[in-house]
């Protein structure tokens, strides 16, 4: 049983560019959440997708957008990259037991913005 998978594992971009990160949830899960984790800090909630719609959103600008596909996989898009966007981006999935209960995390995508 595959857990949460994310791609790519590492990515280097320059300021102003756009990036797309991908996530496949754990088998049987239908809800995907995205988190940003800066070095030395806890993950911060970006947004959550359920039934292909954004259900909740954290305090992130509109440059951060996402999408969920019918197979429950998800993408995170960041436009006009800033140096401060450098972080580990984590995807987490959960099932119908609860939106945020027992989130299962992927290993993340390490994004470096130069």
């Amino acid at each position: 049983d595959a857990g949460v998978t994310q791609s790519p594992t590492h990515l280097i971009k320059t300021r102003g560019q756009q990036v797309t990160l991908r996530c496949s949830p754990k088998s049987g899960h239908d809800t995907v959440s995205w988190y940003q984790q800066a070095l030395g800090q806890g993950p911060q909630f970006i947004f959550q997708y359920y039934e292909e719609e954004e259900r909740q959103r954290g305090n992130f600008p509109d440059r951060f957008s996402g999408h969920q596909f019918p197979n429950y996989s998800s993408e995170l898009n960041v436009n006009a990259l800033l140096l401060g966007d450098s972080a580990l981006y984590l995807c987490a999935s959960s099932g119908k037991a609860g939106w945020n209960e027992k989130l299962f995390f992927g290993s993340g995508t390490q994004l470096s913005v130069l």
Binding site: G40, Q41, G42, N100, E101, F105
Partner: protein, 111 residues
Amino acid sequence: GESVGLHLPTLSVQEGDNSIINCAYSNSASDYFIWYKQESGKGPQFIIDIRSNMDKRQGQRVTVLLNKTVKHLSLQIAATQPGDSAVYFCAETPSGGKLIFGQGTELSVKP
């Protein structure tokens, strides 16, 4: 942001000793709490959870204690092993809302 702090608190213990990691949560409306373990280069891994109608819950070698009066959560690890070395995060959920992570504590186990 809601997760603050650039310098992780560190707890160093001897192999075989018990570890206690503490966490102060922020929202009195939170009704669900989770402890996660994060090893270097990996995503957070679920350890144990507890609902606000409980004050203690036990798992395998781990116990979570919840004190709602002072908004305090703790994780106890019995017979700590080198494989327990990691960063531990507590997280809270205010009534089904987003999961809010605490600062994190780095646990170092000396053999």
